[in-house]
Amino acid sequence: MKYSGIWILAEQDGGRVQRISYELLTRGRELAEKRNTDLTAMIFGHDINADDLQELIDCGADRVVAMEASELEHFLVEPYSACMLRIIEEYRPEIIIAGATSTGRTLMPYVAIKAHAGLTADCTVLDIEADTGNLLQTRPAIGGNILATIKTPSHRPQMATVRPRSTKPAAKQPGRSGEIIRLEATADLLTSRVRRVGFEASEESHSLQDADVVVAVGRGIKKSENIPLMQELADALDAALGASRDVIDRGWMSYPHQIGLSGKTVTPKFYLGAGVSGSIQHLAGMQTAETIVAINTDPDAQIFNVADFGIVGDLFEIVPVLTEKIRQVKGNG
């Protein structure tokens, strides 16, 4: 049987559709136009807000397939993968795209094995190969030092994850219509050997990805005792504090602060990095920021290649002066 159609995995939390879903609609819509086919959003959950499902249509989906059950309220790999495999069997999607979230990064490989599908993680560019119709998936590889373009010539579906916040979410377009299908999540799909027995919310890590201003600490900070210097700058700018992998690996800050390929992607209006050299691993997580400012002693540091404004000098001399100056300006403003 033929595989056709572009599908995205929409995500919900507490019954509300999450931002990543709309980012995937932006990606999916582009591919659907190029491939001249339909775009469908699949979603698993419990008591999903009906207006939110309609909004998926308004924002670019031609069809929504929702599977709902109390067992699907939160992500659990076994019921979610059973449901996705059920959809693959029923609808034969040619392409499935999910967010590179804690859900997508776990669910997609689990499903791809069973479907014998090709899966590419963390794609930054998705395109359709003109003559074959294959999905072309471009991603950073080898610590972000190169970009590799990957395709899946003879297995279907073609599956890919894309980083959250690597695309703008799709906007509502007036007058769109589409079908919302409720596919039954039968009991045989819902068994799980993992149970969610609690949840502890953390404010801190969330704010990094949502922040309009991010201050990042690099290895140039030299030791953990110097972190407060950067925290003061972040506070003066009303910014979230992040760090490069080197800083996290040395234990100077905790893992939720890590910006980069193996940490978080941030797309703030303003990013300021001090003592950050700009390994491609780090750049992969911040180079889409609107304005980038770098402070580094090395005039040839890679970070300056992606920066709009750079100060070549010692952060220990510059940062205290900068913090004070910002306080003055803001105090008067």
Binding site: P109, G143, P153, V194, A201, S262, N305, V312
Partner: protein
């Protein structure tokens, strides 16, 4: 309990240099190390064994030289090791890699937990841990930041997600993938190194596993790399030097003016 830890030998990525002409990695002179994120898996496995008894078996799929990574893991405190190596495995993507590792784990058998690092620092996919679980028909709990308790038939863990930590109860046997905050990896001890040097580490090839030859290596891989290129990054950086105290003042004033011009203050 028996814990299996699959690890990968990777190039020390901080030292990676690229051949500008071909866009490929220059491997000469680059040290091969245990994937740094696998050290956390090894550490938590050793701690769980020390607390609950049993053994830690470390395995790696790779070329013959990957035995060095296994000896390092033994030196840290793992009990035994198996190298899974065969020319037929070359070019494997995450599907074919998970397939072979799952085949080796089946042969070892009798396991309670399989603990993987979050991802390898060279491939950076994070797909092999869940992939192994899928082949073995086991549940997987990914991004584990803390193991709260271990009982005979289940364990309780904290899973790091975007908004906080899920507390999960996981039936055993299961696959866990762990993140950095789970435990600080120990350094190998002198006694450990001596033990590692003497240890007999068997090598299993495709023929030693119940695997189908057409599902191995490049032939068994659904994905193909079609192009490699260097990322291009370019913005016009307005660069100012701040070599002395006066220059620092000037540079900071310029930066503040720049930010005010962009309405960022």
């Amino acid at each position: 309990m028996r814990i299996i830890v699959p690890i990968k030998q990777v190039p020390e990525t901080n030292a990676v240099r690229m051949d500008e002409e071909t866009g490929t990695m220059i491997r000469e002179g680059v040290e091969a190390i245990i994937n740094p994120l696998d050290l956390y898996a090894i550490e938590i496995a050793i701690r769980m064994r020390d607390e609950h008894g049993g053994e830690v078996v470390v395995i790696s799929m790779g070329p013959p030289k990957a035995v060095k990574a296994l000896r390092e893991a033994i030196a840290m405190g793992c009990d035994s090791a198996v190298l899974i190596s065969d020319k037929a495995f070359a070019g494997a993507d995450t599907w074919a890699t998970s397939y072979v590792l799952a085949g080796a784990i089946k042969r070892i058998g009798g396991y309670d937990l399989i603990i993987c690092g979050e991802r390898a620092t060279d491939g950076d996919t994070g797909q092999v841990g869940p992939g192994i679980a899928s082949f073995l028909e086991l549940p997987v709990a990914s991004y584990i930041g803390k193991v709260d308790s271990v009982a005979e038939k289940s364990c309780r863990v904290h899973r790091l997600v975007e908004t906080g930590y899920e507390v999960l109860e996981v039936d055993l046997p299961a696959v866990l993938t762990v993140v950095k905050e789970i435990a600080d990896p120990r350094l190998p001890t002198l006694r450990g190194k001596q033990k590692a040097r003497k240890m007999d580490i068997p090598t299993w090839a495709g023929g030693d596993l119940k695997v189908e030859p057409d599902k191995l290596g490049l032939n068994g891989s659904p994905t193909r790399v079609v192009k490699i290129h260097k990322p291009t990054v370019a913005r016009n950086c307005q660069k100012v030097a701040a070599a002395d105290e006066q220059a620092v003042e000037q540079a900071v004033d310029q930066l503040v003016a720049f930010l005010q011009g962009k309405d960022l203050m």
